[in-house]
Point group: C2
Chain length 356, copies 2
Amino acid sequence: MNSSITPKLNILKTETSRVKEVDFDNLVFGSTFTDHMFECDFKDGEWQNPTIRPYGNLSISPGAKVFHYGQAVFEGMKAYKDDDGRVWLFRPEANFERINKSAKRLAIPEFPRDIFFEALTTLVRMDKEWIQPGLGNSLYIRPFVMATQVGVSASPSDEYKFMILAAPAQAYYTGDVKVVIADHYSRAANGGVGAAKAAGNYGAQFYPTNLAREKGFHQIIWTDDSEHKYLEEAGTMNVFFRVNDTLITAPVSDRILDGVTRKSVIDIAKHNNIDVEVRPVLVSEIVEAAKDGSLKEIFGAGTAAVISPVSAIGHKENVYELTKPEDSYSARFKKDLMSIQHNITEDPFGWRFEVK
Amino acid sequence: MNSSITPKLNILKTETSRVKEVDFDNLVFGSTFTDHMFECDFKDGEWQNPTIRPYGNLSISPGAKVFHYGQAVFEGMKAYKDDDGRVWLFRPEANFERINKSAKRLAIPEFPRDIFFEALTTLVRMDKEWIQPGLGNSLYIRPFVMATQVGVSASPSDEYKFMILAAPAQAYYTGDVKVVIADHYSRAANGGVGAAKAAGNYGAQFYPTNLAREKGFHQIIWTDDSEHKYLEEAGTMNVFFRVNDTLITAPVSDRILDGVTRKSVIDIAKHNNIDVEVRPVLVSEIVEAAKDGSLKEIFGAGTAAVISPVSAIGHKENVYELTKPEDSYSARFKKDLMSIQHNITEDPFGWRFEVK
Ligand SMILES: Cc1ncc(COP(=O)(O)O)c(C=O)c1O
Ligand SMILES: Cc1ncc(COP(=O)(O)O)c(C=O)c1O
């Protein structure tokens, strides 16, 4: 791809925008899409015909490999509008790199940087009216790639479709989040695809998560599949533990997604002179800390939910409640992170990226 | 579903069959589909509108959950035509039960038995001309279910599409199969979805399989993800080892698919008074047996490939060649199995199911 000439982005504008029909105060996350979407096909060994066109259905063969073999990866990122109407992305380079890392693990050809950024910024600019200003509001952006070759034989596709959808979003989680520590089901294998945002990783979690819901929990904190001894991450969030004043989180691995929010939280914490330990986290030490009161906070970190404080954690037959401390780390990180994202404060890290 | 009335199967016949255009001697596995396909939607808590209609594209939202979360499962089964033109399925009940087992693990609602069998047999009957008689020829049948609800938030879909496609097939593998024992990548986690025919399990294997191909192997024999100590199964086949005159295969588990061919081979072997051991198979014992010459055969067993003899097995830096013995088990099982499938011999097990 590097040697080929970047194809020109085709643009087909909608005749009538749907933005006026949207009730922005009652959005269901990820289910209302903006006027346009981006599409680009991989055929004959090349990414071809990059096009922004009105959001609408695809015509696709039921024999397309994505339906049968889950050869698909995705990303999740957000755009924010500040009070002056300027639009910002947050660390888009990280998402670009990650989708190609995920693609590689799923034997999907990498997508070219220049088309990605041109498509992303053009789409956001065209659908700018869909972004509401105000803290917590955003445009959730979903780049994804799927195998489109027709064939029900289990081998890599030689045709793919790369797409970007965008959906206006309010805050993802509302209310208290109760989590339970996995001790039977697992999310990822050693040497598996856990570190990739592979489509199949998510469908695989729905059933165990339903079982957890029936017991009153919202999310599962996954553990290693061998012994359920180490705490890893939640379904769409990395997880942080505060024991006394130290912030602890698991290192990324081939089982754990390298979250953009996670690494941003680590940097913000260090910037605030908070002790951060990135190391394997034992279930037993967190349960002990819950019992002796040194466990002050647990929170999830991810693009959709931003920072999601945990109010109770279940392990085997026990549930440990957590009371938010006055000097809450999670509240502080959330404020710092959102202030940067929404262009309210300085950005000492250089994370903001303006869509002009 | 049990209490509801079975909806009537709608049938829309094609106006012009494509069967005359097909070169049955040069089929690429799983890429030419018959004239018709079956479709049934799950909406408002019910399977609705079961329909057989001409094979063709679907119109589907790019926001459908199957593209993003891999919430999809499938089956693979075959129909055979005997020399009298009668058409037979092989143990279809096992595939029906397994797709619902897979569905459950992926939080997909189960599909009703009566619609499944009515759709399956009607479709096979309608597209009967597509089945070639002759050993090795068959109609490969692909039932599958996918999440169709529109929404890019990671939670179970509340709408699904169940489909059946059919594709005429010749033998799946040609030539020697060289396999390599996994010692870095893995297929399935303990407590994961390995035992389900979940779409995501297959896409996840493509990259490691490509790496194996670069080293001259066709398939990987997967091992446990914790220590790579136990031999489990191949990408689309269960695996059997013959050490001296004993047939050994791993027990099914939550990491290993309960293959229909596997259990049929076990029954055929027992019927032939061959010693069968279903127990964890150590990598080390098979490598030892390869070295001391007691390893006589390895073969894969699966619907697509039927029985696939292995000619060489790689482990770390070594490759062990296998010479097919005169009294080959794999040849015998293949013959016995195919003779039953094609209605050439008696069926002492009651596996054949005629499509009248
Ligand atoms: C499995 C998993 N872990 C963690 C995260 C958080 O990553 P990020 O902060 O980049 O959104 C996500 C979602 O995005 C995820 O899917
Ligand atoms: C992972 C896996 N193992 C084993 C098999 C063999 O199962 P069966 O004999 O039912 O086709 C298959 C394919 O069908 C498979 O996908």
